[in-house]
């Protein structure tokens, strides 16, 4: 048998053996070593090339190389095939029930009132307002007197107050921050634009709709030429940003000692979108905040010239907004901290 024929035979037998192999180990340890190893037939055949004629040497040599390459390729292909088969088998065995529950991750929840306050805060920050916070234990002077509520003012009765001494009290509103801020502001440095969120207190018995502790967000802009229409535009913007474009604002006259004109702002009822329902007592509107042009006495009391500067102020209640927005029916839920309640909000 010529060397070439021998090589052909090695080739055919080898490929057959590879074809019939069923595990990678056999291929690697037997077939590969046997065919391509140092003692294998191809190596041996290549050694025999030197006995051939000078003419034949390159031909047979390249034939031998080709055969070696073919076998190597076949080996690689078979190994890949078997590996893939093995992997598929393993993957099939690894199949899991993806519908089982995921591993619990510890996760706390923000308080829904805090979320609303943050949302309002961010909106006003974006419009260049500063955010201020004031004392919860306040002087009568700031809570009432400077806000145009002198000692015998009947509107003081509207806000039943927790007193600590005759002159010190739990603030009943965030409005004292108007007085405190006006007193300090340097108008040569630009307009005063601020909001002030915080906790307030009223001498109320806690029930479904009353809480002796709740939250308010005060807002105020004072500069030359601030108008009632600026107030209207700002409240409309707030409503649209907070609740959506579908919600409208209605201003109607009201009374607060620290604003004149005073208005209350109603927004489209969440429940019926204005059609009228029992939540809005059929009116289609829900009262959400009080506002107005800052009373000249408030400006004057804080040393701001009411002839030169005008301003608007508003106060809204995040508790009430949260109740309306999320359908909470009992204000006490916000302060009892039942985790089942709190964890509904993200």
């Amino acid at each position: 048998m010529s060397l070439k024929d021998e090589l052909s035979r090695i080739h055919d037998d080898g490929l057959k053996a590879i074809q019939n192999a069923t595990d990678i180990k056999t291929i690697r340890e037997n077939i590969k070593v046997k065919l391509l190893g140092k003692k294998g037939p191809i190596t041996k055949a290549l050694r025999g090339i030197k006995d051939l004629s000078v003419d034949e040497r390159p031909k047979v040599g390249s034939y031998a190389n080709k055969i070696r390459d073919d076998i190597q390729t076949a080996l690689d292909a078979k190994i890949s095939e078997l590996e893939a088969k093995k992997l598929n088998k393993q993957l099939a065995a690894e199949k899991i029930d993806v519908t089982l529950p995921g591993t619990p991750v510890a996760k706390g929840h923000p308080h829904v009132i805090q979320s609303i306050i943050d949302e309002i805060t961010d909106l006003f920050l974006g419009m260049g307002y500063e955010v201020l916070s004031g004392p919860e234990v306040e002087e009568d002077k700031y809570n009432f007197e400077m806000m145009n509520l002198p000692k015998n003012h009947p509107a003081r009765d509207m806000q039943d107050t927790f007193y600590i001494t005759d002159e010190i009290l739990m603030r009943t509103q965030t409005s004292p921050m108007q007085a405190r801020t006006l007193e300090k502001h340097d108008f040569s440095q630009g307009p005063l634009k601020m909001i002030s969120p915080g906790v307030v207190y009223r001498r109320d018995t806690d029930d479904q709709t009353h809480s002796h502790q709740f939250h308010q967000v005060e807002g105020m802009v004072v500069a030359e030429n601030i108008t009632m229409s600026d107030l209207k535009g700002t409240l409309e913007l707030l409503t649209h940003e907070l609740f959506g474009q579908k919600f409208n604002v209605r201003l109607r006259p009201s009374y607060f000692p620290f604003t004149e004109p005073s208005v209350e702002a109603d927004i489209t009822c969440f429940n019926c979108m204005g059609k009228g329902c029992n939540v809005c007592k059929g009116s289609g509107w829900i009262e959400v905040l009080g506002a107005g042009m800052i009373h000249p006495n408030v400006l004057r009391n804080a040393g701001v010239d009411p002839e030169k500067y005008t301003g608007f102020a508003f106060g809204l209640g995040p508790d009430r907004l949260a109740m309306l927005k999320y359908g909470v029916t009992d204000i006490r839920d916000f302060y009892l901290n039942d985790v089942r309640f709190l964890s509904q909000f993200n």
């Binding site: 923000p110 009947p154 739990m170 005008t310 901290n337």
Partner: protein, 804 residues
Amino acid sequence: MLVSYKWLKEYLDLSVPVDQLAEKIERTAVEVDGVVRPDAGLKKIVVGKILSMENHPDSDHLHVCQVDIGEDEPAQIVCGAPNVAVGKKVIVAEHGARIANNEKIKRSKMRGVVSNGMLCGLDEIGIDKNVVPKEWSNGIYFLPDDAKVGDDVYSYIGMDDELIDLDVTPNRGDMLSMYGTAHELAAIYDLPLNLDHPDLTENGTKRTSELINATVDDQIAPNFNVRVLTNVKVQSSPLWLQIRLWNAGIKPINNVVDATNYIMLKYGQPMHAYDYDKLSGHQLVVRQAKAGEQLKTLNENDNELVADDIVVADADKPVALAGVMGGFDSQVTNDTTTIVLESATFDSVKVRKTAQRHLIHTDASQRFERGVDHASVREALDAAAEIIAKDGNAEVQSEIVTASDDHLEPTVVRTSASRINQVLGTSLTTDEISSIFERLGFKVAEFNGDYTVTVPVRRWDIHIPADLFEEVARIYGYDNIPSTLPLSRTTVGRLTEKQSLIRKTRAVLEGAGLTHAISYSLTSADKAASFMMRDSVATELSFPMSSDHTTLRMNLLSGLLTDVAYNQARSVNNVALYEQGRVFYKDADDQVRPTEVEHVAGTITGSLTADAWDHRATEPDFYQVKGIADLLLAELNVAGDVEYQATDQYPDMHPGRTANVYVHGHLVGFVGQIHPNIAKQYKIKPTYGFEFDLQKLIDMPKQDQQAKVISKYPSVSRDIAMLVDKTVTNHQIVEVIKKRGGAFLTNVHLFDIFEGKGIPAGKKSVAYSLTYQNKHDTMVDDDVNKAFEKVTKALQDEFNVTIR
């Protein structure tokens, strides 16, 4: 105030549907609580005439009546009312009728006798029991004799009216009257007003001043007027007047009292009538009360008066709480023949204080508190006298006795069109502005846009230009005011560092699994003073509402434990909460306001995560909350070494499982287990918690955020395990390792700790992994070994450890 639409229409020509009217009032003047239609929901309630009646065969009080209800055959109706009588026109709820409270009336048998309906009293068809006149309170109601049989009854008793329920703001006391409301609507709709005025005939023979003497303190009563009417026949008022009262929520009493109430509704002027013969000395004195004086008021309360109360007195004693309520003993009764009618104004603050002190809030006090029209006090007196004279055949004696009169003048306010437009953001013309003032009934003088506005006394709420701006704004309509945003110099809006750090604190703790709680700042004295991080005097309310909320908290943990208890009482056992809020410290009793300090606290009880199929819920322990505390401190980026020192200084914390936390030597808070006794008091399971003075953390210097080069040379680790006395702390060991570790020791990591089986008593086995790295070169084994040996030796020397 309930405003009758029918009554209103007597004064101005209004035709809009009542719901539109209500909305207009709400958008322009005052809030409307609703519109009441007294006949709403009622059905098949008609006028009937009792043709005959006989006793029920099986009852001693029921009557079987044949009632003409305008049909071919009379209806047989069984009735148990004591006053049922033949020939009377009555209210019949036919078969199929709906009466008050949506109750349906059906043909039925009453003790065997067929009844085709029901004869009704006023309250049965929806008139409030509290306003049904006494004579009709116990039985069926008799309609006027001229009522037409078979007609719906509603129009006969005022139930076809529409009542607008006004919620009048404190500044708009003028709208607590029909005239005030009519003025307002005339302005809103730009309609002419037809008010009527009394035309009183003084038909008596005496001068009032011969009969009565009145003296007043005009600080209490700036206006005080009386008339005397003689030969009064006290009886029921005519039906039209009764209807006006009950539709306004006032119970008809008799023609004298009713007249005063009617005039109060019409003019907003509260009045009072005294029985002249019960007034000692025939005189009235308005004065402060004398401490200890007694007065039984109309509500039959015995009041002991204080010197700050204001009264109307006779020669001997108080006969009325001035402006609040009349006295019981001098009230007009059926036996009264001579009355003194009083029309006055009283100081609003004094009335309010008196009413509050005695807890008597009346229609009169409500009006005096908000003010009344000083210009119509005497007209109202005449109007009341006129009605009583007519309905009681009384003689009106001549002239009013006026003890005080403040002759209040109209207010003059000056402003300008440009100022009005500047404040409102409008561009109204002078014609538009003038027209608004004129509609309001204000006298206007305008020159080149400058206004001099004369405001009638009946609008006592208007004093300053801003008040006029409001009038213009609301009559022009808030809907018509443009929407703009403030145009001014640009301002930067951003959170302060403190605000950012507080937000970050919340985010970190929520990320760590704690839920944001907001508890009450006002708590019990005990809770307020627990878990104290420093000495402080408590801040207490002077008049708390309940013992649960008397004192301002000086810690947050007690509030969180209250929340935990609330949850566990409801079988919620995994509770992980944090709170960020203020505590209130006082250094001394005489500190005026407490210092308000931002704190943050957290508690964990039960597991942070629920039990699951692949995950066992774990009990909380000290190290879990310590881990959260570490995370918070790291995230806040405070500069300086953090150190935990065991402490037993907190009586409310576990003495062996609590640590004070120091940053750079400053105490910033504590971490630990809630004392088992405290947990027991709160009825909660083992709970761990922490509380930090957040303000301190905010104020502390923060670490520079600078990138450090990450070494490209490999690090080498060596583990050391040893037996050591149990009393030696991790902190002590780590300190020694760090001190002796050499220049290349970069990290010390505790990876095992073990006591018990196989370990000698009093000892523990601890194992640390030490990491060495040279930033500039590859570590040589030899160097590492040398450094490691030093550490080993130092540990042996210091703590006598046995290397394992």
